[in-house]
Symmetry: C2
Subunit: 336 residues, 2 copies
């Protein structure tokens, strides 16, 4: 015998299957004596509910699907944690699918989730999945987009305001008295990079005497950052900026290395430095890096909440766009 069913339990306890089900689901409807007998039978047989049967009967599951771009990225693991915690509180389970930025895998996970009749889907899209998501919605599976502003306002979404983040970073540099700011980052066709730069420009408006120089990079990696940092170090001191805003922390770490090589430029005395993302490593850099943190877990929990609310409405739910402000984390690299 592979596993016991309610029928077996009922037989052993000498009651009907309906009563076993009642013990499980509405214990208050069952007399104490019977409850004891049934519990005993459950324990003796090692009965465990069969989720597939429950779900079939119920017509819908207690799972929600989450498709992330990159499961190894701390931003998404945190986001997933936030969603899972919130889901657990509502007795839901989160199924995590890792698209690895591959549209094919993404589609496969959506298919899987639809077969599982998940209650809803959270997704940070790779490909153009909007038509597919609309189809899912028509079939009763709502979606909330995470970490992507949608052009398509018919879906709810939860994201972080990269524009505000960029503004925040540069405002901080200005507030500690820096005037010649450099933005290190690229390529600009990445939405996040472009938004952060726009935010930086916005912050400059309130400081007419300060200047912003843009130093483009090929990628958002430590190596690109180091190259940029070395280039700056090799300039005559008078032509160096007195503060650098790097488009992400990897770049910032590289810039820091490039600046400090061979006892070069002092951070933050000569040049203040701030990054973006607040990866774990930032706090452990040679000079601990200031950064802009995204409330990853909060994004996850909020998205899940929106999704469940949407799923519980019969219809006519008004999609909501939630945008969180990022958070400034000040460390040694910007404290003169």
């Amino acid at each position: 015998m592979v596993s016991a069913s309610v029928k077996d339990v009922a037989a052993l306890a000498g009651v009907s299957v309906g009563t076993v089900s009642n013990v499980l689901n509405r214990p208050e409807k069952v007399s104490a004596e019977v409850t004891v007998r049934v519990q005993g039978a459950i324990d003796k047989l090692g009965f465990v509910r069969n989720d597939a049967a429950r779900q079939l009967r119920a017509g819908l599951s207690h799972s929600i699907g989450l498709v992330v771009l990159d499961a190894a990225n701390p931003f998404f693991t945190e986001l997933a944690r936030g969603a899972e915690d919130r889901a657990a509180a509502e007795h839901f389970t989160v199924l995590v699918g890792n698209s690895s930025e591959d549209a094919g895998r993404e589609a496969a996970y959506l298919d899987l989730f639809e077969q599982q009749r998940v209650r809803g889907v959270l997704i940070s899209p790779v490909g153009n999945v909007i038509p597919r998501l609309e189809q899912l919605r028509r079939r009763g599976i709502p979606t909330v987009l995470v970490d992507r502003q949608t052009e398509n306002l018919s879906f709810s979404s939860v994201a972080v305001d990269d524009l505000a983040g960029g503004e925040m970073a540069v405002a901080h540099l200005l507030s500690v008295g820096r005037q010649r700011i450099a933005f290190v980052g690229g390529p600009e066709n990445i939405r996040q990079v472009a938004d952060r730069l726009s935010g930086a420009r916005k912050a400059m408006e309130s400081a007419p005497r300060a200047s912003l120089e843009v130093i483009p990079t090929e990628s958002l990696t430590v190596l690109s950052g180091r190259a940029a940092g070395e280039a700056i170090r090799l300039r005559p001191a008078a032509e160096r900026p007195d503060a650098i805003f790097a488009a992400n922390d990897l770049l910032a770490v590289g810039v820091l290395q490039g600046l400090m090589l061979m006892g070069g430029v002092q951070v933050p005395e000569e040049i203040a430095l701030i990054g973006y993302d607040d990866i774990e490593f930032s706090a452990a850099a040679v000079v601990p890096l200031s950064s802009i943190r995204q409330p990853s877990a909060l994004i996850g929990s909020t998205a899940l909440e929106l999704l469940l609310r949407e799923a519980s409405q019969e219809s006519g739910f008004a999609p909501r766009q939630v945008v969180f402000p990022p958070e400034l984390v000040v460390r040694a690299s910007t404290q003169a």
Copy 2:
């Protein structure tokens, strides 16, 4: 209408439900003409199989459960990827549960997986789950342990040989001509640390003229490493080791920072340095770090394969303990 069933498809196509099922599962048994009609009906209705019903009928699912200690740890994300890829090839799905090193969450995931009637469980245990795993096995759900040697040989397990890794690291340092080796790491009650140190000692046996010094640390963090590195830098040059083996890469990064501060000690000229784990950051350090890599994805895929094999046996499967050798990755920090 929430979603169409085989019955709807059958009605629209003018065939029986059995035939629809055949089109889905044994297309070769169905005439071309009927196949076309049924496919048409499926498309028109947007029919999607109901997994719960399939699973109920089948009695077992196409999922396997994976419980990891820390979903944010790159080792486990890689391991999960390995397992998922292997699973996908066999048309299985992996459900990932993150215990966050919490025995309660771990138990909750095992309960959930049992309710889902997963085909098997991969787990890197936190608490003493062996009795529970034995219970699961009795109920037809086999387990494979990952990243833990079991005392209990009745379970299959897949792990990495940290002893061999330590030996490998020190053997490498010796092979590039270093003689005064230091091991930086601690606390020693962490199994991995102790094993790596033992391996280091073992490597020393074949080099009677070389010496091994142990420099304990409080934790496996960048900060601890930096402290150790600074302490070494401040010694008279003659008393410094000429090579350092750090118990993990975070320590190694810290040691590197501590050594190089203020243009201090040259790496690798004066001191060669090797870490352990080969985290992504190692290659991007100021001096790219040599390290010992664990075949994370391979562990995952192997564990999954063992599990499926075990699950397909009726009974009497002999548990197997697989131990992988780690891999030496040589970078600038040990190449004079």
